[in-house]
Symmetry: C2
Subunit: 370 residues, 2 copies
Amino acid sequence: MAERIELDAWKAAAPDTEKAEVVGRLIKQFGLSTFTDSERKRFDHQLFRRGIVIAHRDFKLIEERIRQGKPFIQMTGIACSGPMHIGHKVDIDLFLFFKSLGARCYYCAADIDGYVARPDEKVPSLERAKEIAVDNVADALALGISEKDIYMQSRKEQRYYEFAFELAKKFTFSTLYAIYGDDYNPGKHSANMLQYSDILHQQLKEFNGPMPSLTGIGVDQDPHARAVRDIAAKLPHGFVPPSFIYFSFQPGLQLGNKMSSSEPSTTILFTDTPDQVRKKIKDAYSGGRDTLAEHRKLGGIPETDKAFQILRYHHPDDKFVSDTYAKFKSGEMASGELKEIVIDFTNDMLKKHQERRKRKAKAAEKIVLG
Amino acid sequence: MAERIELDAWKAAAPDTEKAEVVGRLIKQFGLSTFTDSERKRFDHQLFRRGIVIAHRDFKLIEERIRQGKPFIQMTGIACSGPMHIGHKVDIDLFLFFKSLGARCYYCAADIDGYVARPDEKVPSLERAKEIAVDNVADALALGISEKDIYMQSRKEQRYYEFAFELAKKFTFSTLYAIYGDDYNPGKHSANMLQYSDILHQQLKEFNGPMPSLTGIGVDQDPHARAVRDIAAKLPHGFVPPSFIYFSFQPGLQLGNKMSSSEPSTTILFTDTPDQVRKKIKDAYSGGRDTLAEHRKLGGIPETDKAFQILRYHHPDDKFVSDTYAKFKSGEMASGELKEIVIDFTNDMLKKHQERRKRKAKAAEKIVLG
């Protein structure tokens, strides 16, 4: 039996899902399904084409609804515990793609979760979580989420909260242990109640009624997916088991971790200035060789080059991305040259984002604070 | 050191708080305060005079507000998991007494709690909890609670639910262990979140703001009192530590347990017919002697006579209660005679209650279902 990969659904140190071998083991260990080549072709989005969407559970239910032209639920969101970074854009790009395919969309700004599940050192009060939420919602709007598709966790219908407690009755210790191991604490459990209500409540008769639902998550979040599917089956509401698609998290700019707002030096935040972006990318872990001569001779390693990953995750032009890949790999393009390209691309993306964000500030405040 | 009394805040098998020795040990073990004779005199209600109210935490805060003619919060309620019985009347009588002394009153019909904290065999769905709630609210109204003083746990403001999650961040395992020992499960934890929100939320700035608050509970519920006071102190809202008064639970009609709707044969339910009442009291554990001759000679033991306890907890006439006590204790009154008196008193009480209850049925339905 393969070595078991221990996951921690709450820490930034996710398994390195850039490595095909790690992905393969995770998929096997958790019993996830992979997409066939024909599915990748049918869902013609760059995140599918570039292998960033890596696996799923019960995606066939969603595929069928799309084929039949019937609606399905799509739910994702952000825990309001820090600023958003470009890694979050992947989640939202995927969300917008499925909206274009007919999803009824619900994006949750999880202010209560942001406060409850993080230590006081990080989010000391609900007020602070709401301030963070204003920024997060502005970013989400700037990334293309519609105002009517966003809801605040603290401003929902009574039934939503009642349901969060209702489902808590179906929690078991073994579920919690599977998610947290010894790292469980009661505050985290209460955050789960809300997260699972977020994913399931739209299937209640008071909302859409039972219907296939889709949520995109990082593969390290699978213990939550299993827990919420287990709970859905135990509740008396005739829920369709929620489907999940798994994407690999955008790697941070240094070795080891995914992008995380807790580690701003390895993460491109949406609020970064051009100079900050330049410095972070200049300092990023490189797939280039020690000397230029060696680089020309042996070629670079784009797979481990953190700057190149920004292009892979975000650049809209497949041909440009694959050409850059080839040039860097052959040694024709030096590391410094690649980094300049990525710096320019990132700063252009952020400049446009920051302009859109400014125009969305008032709308964001209204969504969060009423 | 005295033997430690293990309490289970969730089971009907409470320590026998009829026994002065048990009460004394509980008070010592938990660090509760007792009422002085002059306090008992000042709070001139039969539950104080008859020693049914046995201890408190921080009652001085409430006493001071009453002396100053200032308002204070009073909160109690019922978990909607079964029919109400005459033991619940004690709680409500005390509640009405403090209302007459200036309390702002909040009586919670805890439908979510009733579902979440009980096994599915007892309360299989939220719908069932709401049906039970309609009956419970009708009983509470019939016992004198005002319509405007009752709220449904499932029909509160968003802030109430948000706060239930906010306070969950301050739960620790040691708190939970102190309450439940090894009997903890995640569903119970979620019920606690609501109960503690019930007790504390009226002190939030969105409601009354910080203010002394009073809740009457059975002494076996003290672990909850300690937990909620601990959590109140950890939250950043400037809460006044909630005060508690402890009453001894009305004993069931057989040896051992307090009255509980889970054990209808030892409990007088508000819906009982005259024949049911007669049978239950006839079968009740008696403080009389084995033979009439022996009874005349040695006298009865009113302290252990379950029928007599009904008079002690509910009969409004002190003189009648103490005369009956004396006659039974001296042997002048036989057990059969005492039981006839108690049967008549109880049936008269229930007849009036059931008439009032009928008139409150519509109002109850409106409170529960809207």
